[in-house]
Amino acid sequence: MTSSTVDLMDYDEVLERFDPVLGLEVHVELNTNTKMFCGCSTTFGGEPNTQVCPTCLGLPGSLPVLNRVGVESAIRIGLALGCDIAPWCRFARKNYFYPDMPKNFQTSQYDEPIAFNGELVLELADGEVVTVGIERAHMEEDTGKSLHVGGATGRIHGAEHSLLDYNRAGVPLIEVVTKPITGTGARAPEVARAYVTALRDLLRALGVSDVRMDQGSLRCDANVSLMPKDATEFGTRTETKNVNSLRSVERAVRHEMTRQAAVLAAGGTIMQETRHFDEATGGTRAGRRKETSEDYRYFPEPDLVPIAPAADWVERLRTTLPEMPWQRRKRVQTDWQLSDLELRDLVNAGAIDLVASTVDAGATPDQARAWWVNYLSQEANSRGTELAELPITPVQVARVAALVTDGALTNKLAREVVDGVLAGEGEPDDVVAKRGLAVVSDEGALTAAIDEALAAQPDVAEKIRGGKVQAAGAIVGAVMKATKGQADAKRVRELILERCS
């Protein structure tokens, strides 16, 4: 099942002949203490089936009761996305059979989402602004987790049996659905990635979720269809799941565009189907064919009463909205006096929040920017992870910056300290101690080393005394070598010039 067996059209040709249309569905796992409809803990990683009760296990006779904070989070997400909040809405049952769903229906919302009709404004890398319409945001519950046993690589195909853990069943989910995204042309994959990134940042700012794509608290399904240039109606779309990183969002969209174009160009038709993204190949493969598309037989959930958020409650929630990412970008640009280009670098590196937090922890904006946008971005790239996922925190970075400001570290030593923190050696101060990286600031020791070096290079010493300041460089080098690089080169130079004057 490699993509080499699938025809793909050349990307430029795709754009000559077709207009891509995107629809992105993002599921957000909320970070509430308890599940959506019962008081079981949502803590990740517990022993299987130890965070369950009659309700989330779907035992006969059990009933759901709605988590107030789940509703508040849903409303806040809707408000942050500029949505209307429904004055009255209900839950609905989405009926289908699957072993990870204890009731064999999911309690969700159908034609009455709690939030609808909003938008999210994105800024792409080169400053182009794209407005993505938000169709709706609604509340639903997560399923249990299955382990497939006996097949290859734990996948469902070829498994002999499966093992079910329902700890996750009932955890609150908010599903955010975009309106069809059109007019993006060749930038469609980029726009898709930018949207998920922007949404993630917004959710993080709201504090409603851990939004870790690698942990499943943020999940994206990408719907892609192609419109031939002369068409008046949308084409048939496919839905691609298992998209587990921002990079995968971009790759999946691009792949689907080229794959669908090849099918259409060969005279074929696109099946409305679910596809799965393959990290290894960057391609998508078809899910199991179904005879008919699923009819979920939605009807209003009789065990839950309607939600009618009072206007003053909604307004109070509006006042709890934190500074939204685009508001923060504007403010940061002004406060830190950044040029548009500098701001863009920050945004592209995904670093604004990290930099801001580092500044909050005591670093100067310049220091914070330098660390995140330069050194740490490179590190993230080489590891193939997001900046936010690096094992170093803004507080730690601020500490390193403070040590440099105090003169306890040179920039070079500081980089070693940061490496140590990334390697899991502990807090910056621990790394300094363990690796013995403290700047040699003992002037007596420095002077001694300087004198030694001067004595070893008498001709250079002569030159310096004669006014050739540049010659000091060789002595600095010798002293740095002698102190294993742990001297402050600037200070050493100053001392040399003092001694030779």
Binding site: P48, V52, V65, L147, L163, D165, R288, P302
Partner: protein, 99 residues
């Protein structure tokens, strides 16, 4: 007037994951037809402007606080399980992927 065929009954049985025998199919087809004819009577009512009732009592906004409540132990959860393994419910191999 609905006239539900044997095939439609078989389809409904499939949708609801109900194994039915050939004899049952015939019996159910006849019975379901009669039942559907009698319930189709609801269409006689002119109800274009009538709002539907989903909840008999006019309650709204019933919530609980986001506070933990003791649940079941793993043993209690698995007590009725037809099969269990390593603290999990063991189920036969699943053919389809999640919808």
């Amino acid at each position: 007037m609905p006239n539900i065929s044997r095939d439609e009954v078989a389809h409904l049985a499939r949708l609801s994951r109900l194994a039915v025998t050939e004899d049952e199919l015939d019996m159910f087809a006849g019975q379901l037809d009669v039942i559907l004819q009698s319930v189709a009577k609801v269409s006689e009512v002119a109800a274009d402007d009538i709002p539907p009732t989903s909840h008999a009592v006019p309650l709204t906004n019933v919530f609980r606080e986001d506070v933990e409540r003791p649940g079941l132990t793993q043993q209690q959860a698995l007590a009725g399980a037809p099969a269990a393994e390593e603290g999990r419910f063991r189920v036969p191999r699943i053919l389809g992927e999640q919808a």
